[in-house]
Subunit: 401 residues, 2 copies
Amino acid sequence: MTKICVIGLGYVGLPILLNLSNKYKCIGYDISLNRIESLKKGRDIFKEFSKKELLKKSILYSNNLNHAANCNIFIITVPTPIYQNKKPDLSHLKDVCEKLSKKIKKKDILIFESTVYPGITNNFCIPIIEKFSKLKEGRDFFVGYSPERVNPGDKKHNLKKINKIFAYPYKFRKKEILSIYKLICKKLIITENIKEAEAAKVIENIQRDVNIGLINEIYLVCKKLNLDFKEVINLASTKWNFLKFKPGLVGGHCLPVDPYYFAHISKINNYKTKITLAGRQTNDFMEKNILIEIKNILKVHDKKNNKKVLLCGLSYKENVSDHRNSLALNIFNKLKKIKKNISGYDPMINDNLSNKLNLIISEKEFSNFDIYITLIRHNIIKKKINKLSKNKLIFNILSNI
Amino acid sequence: MTKICVIGLGYVGLPILLNLSNKYKCIGYDISLNRIESLKKGRDIFKEFSKKELLKKSILYSNNLNHAANCNIFIITVPTPIYQNKKPDLSHLKDVCEKLSKKIKKKDILIFESTVYPGITNNFCIPIIEKFSKLKEGRDFFVGYSPERVNPGDKKHNLKKINKIFAYPYKFRKKEILSIYKLICKKLIITENIKEAEAAKVIENIQRDVNIGLINEIYLVCKKLNLDFKEVINLASTKWNFLKFKPGLVGGHCLPVDPYYFAHISKINNYKTKITLAGRQTNDFMEKNILIEIKNILKVHDKKNNKKVLLCGLSYKENVSDHRNSLALNIFNKLKKIKKNISGYDPMINDNLSNKLNLIISEKEFSNFDIYITLIRHNIIKKKINKLSKNKLIFNILSNI
């Protein structure tokens, strides 16, 4: 009988688990006891899923892989971040491979979902598992790769509505694993080549990062030249092939990370990339730049430094509750150090977290400021700002093109 | 009576002239006597226009601006290249402004079309004209800017089918000049801000150059990692927002030039761009890289260096006859130095020019080679290659994704 273990219950693993549990018995494993405890109570801190969805009988949440002893399909969605020095941090992958090597049995299938550089599945993950399990991949157990394409906050392109790449070089249980994966997306794009699937995923994010970087650069140059950025983009957009990317604070776990993976493997293979990382510096620099922009606003409109200022929208991306790796939150924390009367607000972030982050939460308090500065413009923030009385000063940072 | 002078009869000026001459008396001015002589004979070396179109009675071709003495509208489409050191070469603009300053009269209108950086029309061109003419812009004569959006070889987006930005800050003769410009495009996008129009144009090309650069970089890394580039791109393209740019040899007069204009004005304004020029080095490097790729092909398939090799497609871009600034042609010239039995072929380039460039032209000769290498794949080349007998070795350089 098919029994599935999903390893890593973040924004990638959790929706996969919930989809598959409609048909299969599943174990949801996460290394974080906190995460497991709250999921067991039906609570998703990122507010994406309801209590009812989370508390299905077909799911067992656990931070102990022993509970997955009788699973025969493992889906691995652990994070692949970078170290401070920007080198790929494969420690989570390594850790999970070591743990799995002690659990897996003959005929098991492992599908990796984490974004990596081409070669990691075959040259890094499989050797670790083989070494400790004494099993041989392709004979005893079988590995595939299906890169996650979750776009947090984007309801138009959620898991069930997208094409998903699925790389699996074997015939063994192929029909079965394909029918399982078909449950979690609109269409499967099937290939046998894991490395090409790994490359495909990472270049998607590089392309976005570079393009947002370029539009941020154009935004900064327009400021320097006293040009109306929004007007420039609107004019350029009348060309049939101009791509209307938005400038912004690029945070999160993908764009600020993935380019370094590709650059790393290129360098190892004697090719120093010149464009892959071109967006990184400028996109990171936007934090400092927006900080300056806000300081300049306050210099003009809060001369006596006695106005009450509210910074709105602090998660890492529009319509997303995740505050980790958020440049907007960094900006808030830096502003707090130089101005007392400043508060932060993000209705997407749950109340507990908001309390921890020292953000205001009450509706009453919200209408009680003199100056409102919007950073990450969630739909709900736009609505609330529009309803404010007319005597409030409102500044929308980064043109909303 | 409206009489129009189009200054510069290259791939930008000539189609404007021909369109306007359907309704107005026009002077077509070019600094090159050769160009004027051949246009007078109804010959367009780039084979875009027929003899009948060129020899309209409403057009007077001249390389003497005195013939434009009674014109009252001037459209300037001179080239804006870069110097060897990559700095903007404004000498053609300077020259034409000086010449015009001695010809223009009160109430004349001048529209610039050349791609520039924001500020050139107002801060460079107008001061030159005012200085020598003793006339005041905005009072005596009036200047607008309408950036050219010609995409050579692209029949889907020719002048009559595209939106065209038109920046003109005055009311004087505005209706008239708009009605004239409406003759040469599908829709006018009207603005009063010349600088924003200048910026809009130059960033369109930068965006293309950076994106092609990135796809070229991915192509090169895939080669290094032994990945099937075409397959990687096809997989990535199954994501809803992946942009399928083609790798290629970026030549011509726009992409290799325009980024330097924007970077230049940014630097002057204390912002050193980090992404604008990111594509340049890689795109230029493709010449060397493709040269190596071809040498490697010949090492394997022409071991004794006795095969007859034909390099096909040498203009700067698909379906374009213009060979100037063509990286493919550079590659051909470099290969000739190391291999005797190599010939070049481009059916888009006219026979006279082909002779000068030492390319083969006869159909008979074309089928007489052992190895065919296609570089710039014009539609006509694809057809001809498909018709070759099956014993020929054919290599299509740069995946045709």
